[in-house]
Symmetry: D2
């Protein structure tokens, strides 16, 4: 931590900063400069209370050198986390996983048909919302608990694993009974009560980046999960808010190598929400895999024109099959391979 | 709703769009142009399912003419909503209210001292977090329920009303027992489970704008509250995410007149979070009131240097007193007046 | 300057960094931490070549403690710059100046009528574009040099000073012959060839903030002007790019106190471009003055409905007169006063 | 064009809008809705003056259905533009071109060594700045005209084509004498005087997207070039301003398929500026090609640690060679191939 003094800070003010640092139990080292003096705090163990320092007279700003997160960092654990899912599927190792399915679970036929279609094309995990966060209270909000039962049925039928969202602490229990991966949505990335509940639920978690979240904030939200003892955390880039309305969101593919440098956690990409436009999903799924994503999450529906939500960004089954063919070749180029679905009953 | 056809759309494709509109029970009206044809949907009652149309062949985009929110709009209710609080305080009428207090409730002495100080300067509502959303799991998270009891004590002592945050549906009940206004924080603006619970709690709500929320999304989140029957909703601008690190957030004062045009709900401004810098709080509080804010929310602490959170943006008591003096004169300029605190026991 | 080492940096790597710092002629001071070591560079005179250091093995990042600008900073000159204009008008002192006029000069009658109207209401400087930067090549681009002559005529008639834009180095000479203040537009804030030409032209400059410019970049562009010997620089906040289409730009009023803290240069605000909406101009002009702006720049037209450009954000004359009345009272509240136009021939 | 009336607009106000549309020579068609009436303008030829309409009483907003650009659009020309360069290199067809070289031309040895290295790895075009736009007036600004001569020397030695930037209309002539492609930098994307000069220079143009430019604005700036008669325009995505400081810019790879849908012009990607971090250049170059980029532009230096500018984002020669190997395989996956450099003297 570096305490930068104002240009005209007096020697007394510098001494006061040094004294407070020592009071807090750390060492201080002054760095005089032509423009201003800075004081380095030596031995920062991540528990220094910066607000004590930043309000001292003559202090201009505090510069943080240490990262605010710990257990999610590469410095805490150098080797990548590999999340082990039922049936031998892994996320974060050599395999690239495809998670696919409708925005919302609508009825038994729809979810089972979709599960079969996406499995045939190469998905290993079925997505589908039973609880749907919607901007408007008047939009379809999902089937709720009956939707969870339909997801379980689809898993029985196809052997696909299930990834679905929990929106509040109360629903975490219900979702955890059914899901193989519990999703925390972008709008809830900093819903800390939910993070704590999910951190204790005993199931792997897919944590989506919030629309205005920095990578540091995404990692801090993941830290909430690890701090509760849940180490099976998969991050997901799904587009941030941008100024151009040409796409629904600004799909920040650079987040993938940035996260891989800072953290040992796997990160997948969701080009459906990332762009909001069906015809951009294929090129951006290729791009995400080329950039090193550990998986992709894609919206697919047997009949997108009749989907109850997100129709415009949902792939036709044929498009998803093409996407999987393309992604397999790109995976190969960078020394990885796409996880293959298990035969039913295997 | 306007359905814009692609440049090369065929007459058959246009006819198909017209047919689907009529199937849905509306009237269609074609608008041929030099570049492309558009089809107007006549009689939109806000329940048209756009996804049915946007995926038809030859359709380029759907342009929404109607607003997605209803009860919060000026068109639903032209006269401004005035929220009536205990003791005769109102928000949204002629009065401008000052809400002040520490970021977090720390102990009895701190909260009661602060309450007295801010009341003396002219605040009518005490703020203070018992439950604190924090980016890091290792930061101070508030005193929890004992913090609520201390807020109640401060109210008894000073007669100030209490505004404090609920972070999850479970806590809404506890907070509603104590608070005069329940706050929904920026990170929870789209926590729809929380919004529904708060919408049913029977207490006025302060809804803060999310860091990447458009005004439309803010109003839609307010719509969740009204849809549950709670009409006592106060909006709050507190800064959005910007690209310049010179301030903590980008304080969007224009949101105040924009909201006043679109909605009948009152809107206040929080220059403490809006800027994140103590010395910017005074000019920006003046600016917000000059722009028409129905109130201001400001962090004040008897000793900001020792505050457990947000010290750097928290005012010294003397600064807050000066702020109130300046705000009073500006209120006068624009034909309003600052609400005065009631004497204790009144 | 602080050179932050990677977590696992070796002692040899740290020694190498120290050696390079010493080679460059500065002192190095190591700051070991629990997470990582940092090395402080002591005696930075603003000429350190960071790229030599940031690419050394084991270096994670360079943190700049010194500001990259010099002559524009408060540390270079503590007292505010007061720009003296003909007729005794000053910008940056006690007075608040009003600059008003049409987006574009259209014809003699229009510009002289506008000049009279805005002078009567209290403007001291006439704005009006002869050269207009337009996003589309098919939009009206201004009258060019004949427009400059019309501005000179309007000055003769009314005694108002003239502020108008130069878009390229060639036009700087023409504009400087006529203008009392040369404007550099937002799109040209980092047109460095233009900045150099304007820096040498001998006239005061109004430098508008670019749509994606940080305050640091705005100050660096001003530094180009001072580095060429032109100290009469007035900055202008006019809105940055935001994610919400509810307003044309995101009017960043906080930039006013931020600039005043970092720099001695005056800063005015342009609520017409800042919001893009006529009805938001009044509240935001009040807000800017309340926040400490040294002036306001506003688009006014005798008949906005017939304006050749920017009609939707242009005030009717009566609205501008009201704006001036409101701004005068707010100026008074914060201990300033609005500059009054001189009588013609004075 | 759709003129949306306010909720309470009177029949007289609607009739007035209809009358003005007819006065302007177009047809009007009213679209009554439950919430409000809209009036469609039929026959828009792109020359409608919206400001006449948007200021009429009762009008709430104007919605533009037509695109503001023409010659750059897919509707104007459906088949992709293929830019033909000397030596048979093409941009926008099947080939993917690699443009590589240092940020700045520093001296003869540096530029010739770099040219040889990047050619050997597979680049066909040499980049290198002789005129450098720099945020600070105190940074190295390039060698100027002597730098152009060195680029010409490197071309003679290696047969590589030359792409270099012009920063003002005066320099366009000098640059056009030497360059095979003239670059317009991001900061000058809306420097319309420069665009006009470059549009008349007779050489192909590389137009970089501005840091806050929407795709529509990028295409409008390209329209300036086509409107001057220059059809050899190559667009370039190089990152936009984002809120996260984890990367220098936010590299918007989605812009590639978005541009390809809207325009016939080729678009390449610059992952060096797009990320600002050397180790992110490889994954993001792969991603850009996977998303359909018509080329990549990469900073390479024989010794990045000693580069006079942009060292931290500049590749070592070995990294560039690896990048080219990876990009070749990805190109193959999507049915394209990387353009190969001609032998010298061929």
């Amino acid at each position: 931590m570096l305490i930068v003094m104002q240009h005209g800070a007096t020697p007394d003010q510098v001494r006061r900063v040094v004294a407070v640092i020592e009071e807090l139990g750390y060492q201080a080292r002054a760095l005089p400069g032509k423009q201003r003096t800075a004081v380095g705090l030596v031995g920062n163990d991540g528990r220094v209370d910066a607000s004590r320092l930043e309000t001292l007279p003559g202090v201009q700003e505090i510069i943080h050198v240490s990262k605010p997160y710990k257990q999610v960092s590469r410095e805490w654990q150098d080797e990548p986390t590999v999340v082990h899912l039922p049936g031998g599927v892994t996320v974060g190792g050599t395999e690239i996983v495809a998670i696919a399915g409708p925005c919302s679970v609508e009825n038994e036929k729809q979810i089972i048909d979709t599960a079969r279609l996406v499995k045939e094309a190469g998905a290993v995990i079925l997505r589908g919302g039973a609880f749907k966060p919607r901007s408007s209270p008047y939009s379809f909000q999902g089937l709720g608990r009956p939707g969870l039962a339909l997801l379980a049925r689809a898993r029985e039928e196809t052997g696909l694993l299930v990834c679905t969202e929990a929106m509040d602490p109360e629903a975490v229990g219900w979702v955890a009974e059914v899901a193989d991966i519990i999703q925390v949505g972008a709008r809830n990335m900093q819903n800390f009560s939910l993070l704590k509940a999910v951190g204790r639920c005993g199931k792997p978690v897919l944590l989506k980046r919030g629309m205005a979240a920095t990578i540091t904030e995404l990692l801090l939200s993941a830290e909430y999960l690890l701090a509760e003892g849940n180490r099976d955390v998969i991050l997901c880039e799904r587009g941030v808010r941008g100024f151009d309305t040409a796409t629904r969101n600004l799909f920040d593919i650079s987040a993938i190598p940035v996260v891989h440098k800072l953290s040992h956690l796997p990160i997948i990409a969701d080009p459906s929400h990332g762009t909001g436009l069906r015809e951009k999903v294929l090129p951006m799924a290729r791009a995400a895999v080329a950039a090193g994503a550990d998986g992709i999450m894609v919206e697919v529906h047997p009949n997108p024109d009749a989907a109850l939500s997100d129709g415009a960004q949902t792939l036709y089954p044929g498009q998803f099959a093409q996407l999987m063919r393309e992604v397999r070749v790109i995976a190969d180029v960078i020394g990885r391979r796409v996880a293959e679905p298990a035969p039913v009953g295997a």
